[in-house]
């Protein structure tokens, strides 16, 4: 009889230990998960940006304003690299909108595309071809001029 009781208790103890160990494992795994989540919650960027920043409203407004001046448009028609690229280069210096990868400006004139200005912010690699271009058509009496102006972004434009 005493043997019976002894064996029964042994079985109970081993079952309880299994559950205690299982609980401990669950607690440890949960603890690690909570710790990882807390870390991720701290490092994640809570700021929200719009994905579609290749067409920056202010930048487009600026460049169209710049080229709405007859004298400046004349520079574009003649594909005067110096003056227009000068304008684009002054964009970040003067606090005008500029994406991290820089802006590209190309002028198509008589089926000939001439990239007159591509500038990039120091330290940012500007490569990626084939990005969708924002096109503005400038039609004058004498020339048909197509201006492509787009942001160069890798991943998201912020």
């Amino acid at each position: 009889m005493s043997n019976k009781i002894f064996f029964g208790k042994k079985a109970q103890a081993s079952d309880a230990i299994t559950w205690i160990v299982a609980t401990l494992i669950v607690v440890v795994v949960l603890g690690i998960s909570i710790f990882a989540t807390t870390l991720m919650g701290k490092i994640q960027d809570r700021k929200i940006f719009l994905d579609d920043k290749q067409k920056d409203f202010l930048a487009v407004k600026s460049i169209t304003s710049f080229l709405s001046n007859d004298a400046n448009l004349e520079l574009a028609k003649n594909a005067n690299e110096g003056e227009i690229s000068n304008f684009l280069k002054t964009v970040p210096a003067k606090g005008l909108n500029s994406p991290s990868g820089g802006w590209n400006l190309a002028i198509e004139k008589e089926n000939e595309t001439k990239e007159i200005a591509t500038y990039d912010v120091v330290g940012v690699d500007v490569g990626g071809a084939g990005l969708p271009a924002f096109e503005i058509n400038f039609e004058s009496k004498t020339n048909h001029l197509k201006l492509k102006f787009w942001a160069e972004c890798h991943g998201k434009c912020k």
Partner: protein, 162 residues
């Protein structure tokens, strides 16, 4: 005797089972609340929209829509249909617009400001105030290049910051 023990054992097991369920469920709820519970900071988008609206209001077809005079300064909010009031008593926005000559970089005398002056970058006491500055180019009535600089401060820390 043995069957009684088994019944007791089942009770202990079910208690453990519920304890583990509660721990796991609690842990998952806690993790989700940590990850998604903090507010998202949308003030960058908010200030961008505000700046776009101001640019749309001030510049039309590449030219400044209004002459840069005191009339614009006095009636800016109504001309641009801006309402910076919020549900809170204190004003949560401040905006300042300044104009510069593109060629000389010289600041023009006209400066427009609206909203809570305490949120101005130089005055703001709270480190949670969001600042944004954007500029755009437009021509004045004489065809001169003008840079319009729009500085925006948004408080709304309770809605956007942990």
């Amino acid at each position: 005797m043995i069957s009684k023990n088994k019944r007791g054992m089942e009770k202990i097991v079910s208690i453990y089972w519920f304890a583990i369920l509660i721990i796991v469920a609690g842990g998952i709820i806690y993790m989700v609340s940590i990850f998604y519970g903090d507010p998202y900071d949308v003030r960058a988008i908010e200030s961008g929209i505000l700046t776009d609206n101001i640019a749309e209001c001030l510049s039309e077809n590449g030219k400044l829509k209004y002459p840069l005079d005191d009339n614009l300064k006095g009636n800016f909010a109504s001309l641009c249909h801006l309402n910076l009031k919020t549900n809170e008593e204190r004003q949560e926005y401040y905006l300042e617009i300044s104009f510069y000559d593109f060629k000389t970089n010289q600041k023009l005398p006209l400066e427009i400001s609206e909203g809570n002056i305490n949120l101005k970058k130089s005055n703001a006491l709270s480190r949670y105030v969001f600042f944004n500055s954007e500029s755009f180019y437009a021509l004045d009535s004489e065809g001169k290049g003008i840079i319009t600089k729009v500085d925006i401060s948004i408080n709304k820390d309770e809605e956007n910051v942990k």
